[in-house]
Point group: C2
Chain length 353, copies 2
């Protein structure tokens, strides 16, 4: 059983304030017959302390159940050991989010840091959410990782105002770019490889359903797409490229517009959701996948489709880990690209002879 230093307290006082009876640095110093700073030095291992005293202090501390109060030390060092992870799960918790959390958590653990998870829980997040109690500036975090939000997030500006290291995973809005580091997979390369894969299978008329046209990721995907076409001496035809809002509904809607109008043999979609919409519409139109149409999605959200959808697997755990590393990397470039993806070849595409 532990012995507490201030046992002269009344029972009432004891219950009144939870851990008020916890031994503090003074108690240890007094019992060990040394000064506060020596105790501090022992626990922080910064200055050299004689072995004899170190042992003594540790022994007494252990006896008293003492351990340095993080709050108090944070007040002077300005470091809390806490990293904020901001996830904008407006709609719902996505697969990538879980993996990111794990990656971040694992990497933080290596340096004894912990994570405060800030979820922007959809509907609860009304106007009042910006009230006085939600100022991020007051949050006890040393640094922040933000999962690229789909919608403009006013809170990012607050974080930047705090002048703390920030890493955005995914594409950062351009206006933030000099102020934050950002980390992503190589979307040009991914799009290039997917397109090339279809070309190698014999496809020549390949449509691309992109996300919003002014998003960086869409531009990148377009670049990769065009690059691959060029290698096969196919001229880029705007009639085969579309934009959508990345939802299943939009995918289906677009499908009804193009499936019967165009003569493409393959479609690349920006996400599994859009692909799922296409699947549905294709079924209604009597178009068989992959017999009549091949489909390859660029982003994976684990949609279970039949036939199995070709998609791109991104190692989000790796991204999460890398984000943590990047936070402390003073030399790193603002924009960092990481190799963390893999094409998942499944049953939604076929070879054309």
């Amino acid at each position: 059983m532990k012995q507490y230093a201030k046992m002269n307290k009344t029972v009432y006082e004891y219950h009144k304030k939870g851990c008020d009876d916890m031994a503090n640095i003074n108690d240890v110093a007094r019992k060990a017959g040394v000064s506060k700073s020596t105790v501090s030095n022992v626990f922080n291992g910064k200055k050299n302390v004689s072995d004899e005293i170190r042992q003594k202090v540790f022994h007494i501390a252990d006896n008293l159940g003492y351990y340095p109060n993080k709050l108090a030390s944070a007040l002077t060092t300005k470091r809390t050991g806490l990293t904020g992870l901001f996830i904008d799960n407006n709609s719902r918790f996505r697969h990538m989010d879980y993996k990111l959390i794990e990656g971040v958590s694992r990497e933080l653990r290596k340096t004894n840091k912990h994570m405060i998870l800030y979820l922007q829980a959809g509907k609860d997040n009304d106007v009042n959410a910006m009230d006085i109690n939600n100022k991020l500036i007051a949050e006890p975090i040393d640094e922040a990782i933000i999962i690229a939000p789909m919608v403009k997030d006013i809170r990012i500006n607050e974080l930047i105002d705090m002048r703390k290291p920030i890493v955005i995973i995914g594409q950062a809005p351009n206006h933030l770019l000099p102020r934050v580091k950002c980390l992503d997979v190589d979307n040009i390369q991914i799009s290039y490889e997917v397109t090339k894969h279809l070309l190698e299978l014999g496809h020549r008329k390949i449509a691309l359903i992109n996300s919003d046209s002014n998003m960086t990721i869409s531009i990148d995907r377009m670049k990769g797409y065009i690059k691959a076409l060029k290698e096969y001496h196919i001229e880029y035809n705007p009639e085969y490229t579309f934009n959508s809002d990345n939802t299943e509904e939009m995918g289906q809607q677009l499908g009804s517009r193009i499936l019967n109008q165009l003569d493409m043999t393959a479609v690349i979609t920006s996400s599994d959701e859009v692909a799922s919409g296409l699947y549905k519409e294709a079924e209604q139109c009597g178009i068989a996948i992959p017999k009549d149409l091949s489909i390859f999605a660029l982003g994976g959200t684990d949609k279970q489709l039949k036939p199995d959808l070709c998609t791109v697997y991104v190692d989000y755990e790796k991204l999460g880990k890398q984000a943590v590393t990047l936070l402390s990397d003073k030399e790193a470039r603002t924009n960092q690209v990481i190799d963390a993806y893999e094409l998942c070849i499944a049953d939604s595409i076929k070879r054309i002879i």
Copy 2:
């Protein structure tokens, strides 16, 4: 643009310490011509402050970009506004974990609290994990929610030593019971309802594959199972009940032992994993589901099986929310049961005539 109070600092000093230039309570007090305590009172709204002064203070504070430092206030109030959420995802992040996190997060937000997520990341969690830097006692949390760990978790004892409110979601080890509150669905009732459902479909020989026999949850499930049988005047036969470690492998192994030996028409399993193992073994033995054998799982982990598995859906988000509420509930009983489940009837069972 914000104005910072201590602009007389050199550029060097400015960059040296991140937010050192942040206005503090003294700056506000001075500029507003009031005392620190008045500013404090304004922001905490505890004591009455005249409207005139309140406005003035708010105005100045806004101008200076001032906001009370949570760290400093925590040091005196002993409250950080942080709740620890402990998840033992040794194997992997499970579906229930995501929902729990969301529930906890949503509920915390209502009272402006935040969450530190402590993941026990499997293999990284070696002996060193218990070193000096991992003492939970040093963590800046006011309270803790623990997702019932499968294995004995030494950290729980540490948490208890901290004398902070603790809620365990799921079944708590008995030896902790007086010290923590615990929250769960009614496992007796669930098992009862599932068994009864099968009985109503005409099944009479129903096997039960339980978890470890000394776990509370297993005992509860057994109770519900027997209760339902009794209502149908069927005597409990130990030969039809088994224990497993809840893995798919174990499910398959058990299956190979019993599928051809026993004449039951239905099996209730402790988890989707075990059910999955049974599926595999059944296929090998040429036993069709549900034609030859009906299967009902008691716990859902979103295993995608064909035919669709009958399972029990638990509303983990609700459990998470309730856990947060329970933390602050001084009157609540140690053991709390919550209504948050639903039987999911699918294709893995059939009516017997």
